[in-house]
Amino acid sequence: MDVLFNGLVDAVRLLLTGDQDSWSITALTLRVSLTATAIALLVGLPLGATVALARFPGRRLALAAVNTGMGMPPVVVGLFVTVLLWRSGPVGGLGLLYTPTAMIIAQSAIATPIVIALVAAALQQVDPDFRVQMQALGATPIRAFAALLGEARLPLLAAAMAAFGAVVSEVGAAQMVGGNLAGQTRVLTTAAVLATSRGQFSLAIAFGLILLLIAFCVNLSLTLIQQRQTVPR
């Protein structure tokens, strides 16, 4: 049990003493996972809206596919991206494998289905009359869509949080496409795995606690945004 306590002490020490390695690992974790979440939102929002609101053949199939995508194992995504980025793969010449960019690509692929599925679910539960009303009031389609997003802001921000939570905590893809290179692609999860395999349990726990802390900070800021406007107007 003292491992847990030492881990807590280590985490505080690493954060307070400004340990260079831990800070750069934490900064890279935030950079990779936030960028991947942002990309997933940019791609997932329009796609999710399309699946939710448009009528096209195969729509239910598409919904089932993105819902399956929510449960896609990061290792599988990682393997797929690795094979694509291999020197012998289709875009091998770019030399992207084992870089933060590769990690962002993989994590975006993990987060996008989550955003699509949750956005689709969020928009579908908005009262269908709402859109009719907007149109009746003479809103342009873009304004109507913006109003719809506003109406569904709670679940939409929940989608952002779910996406961020999924990518910041995954280790399989980060390890595979990033390679856990010290100072280059080492993030909190892969650092924790390495520390464990080296028998440095307190350090591993410390990384875990730092991960929890930054996840909490990100979610806290999102929650504040989410809840600020929910007071009745």
Binding site: L34, T35, L97, I104, R198, R228
Partner: protein
């Protein structure tokens, strides 16, 4: 409602800009090579000592993939790595014979040890490797195998026939993981396992395992550096491979290898061997 949207958009924009900003402020791309090596060189901490010195001396950044020797060789074969530092001699000679690899040079050695619980239920203390394995099998004491086609796993698989045993059954367990994890599993299950000495010594403090059988000439653990060539793939960098291989067999790196671990463990973890005749090792 507009404000919500503005806030969301601002947040997304901020994140995207932060991401781009950080990317842009990175140092300009340096020449970097990919080294595929074994978990033992990483888990023991040797690479942390060597690689910064290599980068300083040569200007090459190194991307290290610490995997089992089997996977390292496969990465070399596919042209995904520029240089290999591995310890699976039989597989290496076969691989070099295929013709895609360049020079293969001796770097260092240490040895494998059979470790197990202090109580030693199969009574293997001071037995040679073959006898020890025979006793473990006879006692059906838990033996934890790497099971990951690593150099250590290859060595272990080579030892069982010498003991006249085909391992199997519930006492023979396979983790499929690196040396550090496998030692941990063996420790928790009070089982035996084969480990390279370096990883064991580096982690001894957190394990309840002791060295029970050692010193058998069959337990030598020899590391070679293998340069890859363009024959393995168009993007292989033979110049980087040569820079690394030349550097690691040169006296300064060999001195670092010989000193590594002396301060912390009271004994060096590896013996530098560059330029020696392999058949004289361990004598």
């Amino acid at each position: 409602m507009r404000r919500t949207l503005t806030v969301v958009v601002a947040w997304v924009a901020a994140v995207v800009l932060t991401g781009c900003g950080t990317t842009a402020s990175e140092p300009p791309a340096q020449k970097s090579l990919i080294l595929a090596t074994t978990t033992s060189t990483q888990d023991s901490g040797l690479l942390d000592e060597l690689l910064p010195a290599f980068t300083r001396d040569s200007g090459w950044q190194v991307k290290t993939l610490a995997v089992g020797s089997g996977q390292a060789i496969e990465l070399g074969r596919r042209g995904e790595a520029d240089v290999l530092l591995v310890h699976s001699p039989a597989a290496e000679t076969e691989f070099v014979a295929e013709g895609t690899a360049g020079a293969r040079r001796l770097v260092m050695h240490n040895d494998f040890v059979l470790v197990g619980p202090k109580e030693d239920p199969a009574d293997i203390k001071n037995a040679n490797a073959a006898e020890a394995l025979k006793k473990i099998a006879a006692a059906e004491a838990v033996f934890v195998s790497r099971g990951d086609e690593s150099g250590t796993h290859a060595k272990e698989k080579g030892l069982w026939p010498k003991a006249g045993v085909t391992p199997g059954g519930s006492w023979y367990q396979s983790t499929g993981q690196g040396m550090g994890e496998t030692l941990r599993v063996a420790s928790e299950k009070a089982g035996y396992t084969l480990s390279d000495r370096a990883t064991y010594l580096a982690q001894r403090g957190t394990l309840s395992l002791e060295v029970l059988s050692e010193g058998d000439p069959g337990l030598l653990n020899v590391y070679h550096v293998i340069e890859m060539t363009k024959k393995a793939g168009d993007l292989v960098q033979p110049d980087g491979a040569k820079a690394f291989a030349d550097w690691i067999v040169a006296p300064p790196a060999q001195r670092l290898i010989g000193e590594f671990g002396r301060a912390k463990f009271g004994q060096p973890l590896f013996t530098p061997d560059a330029g020696k005749d392999e058949s004289t090792l361990g004598q």
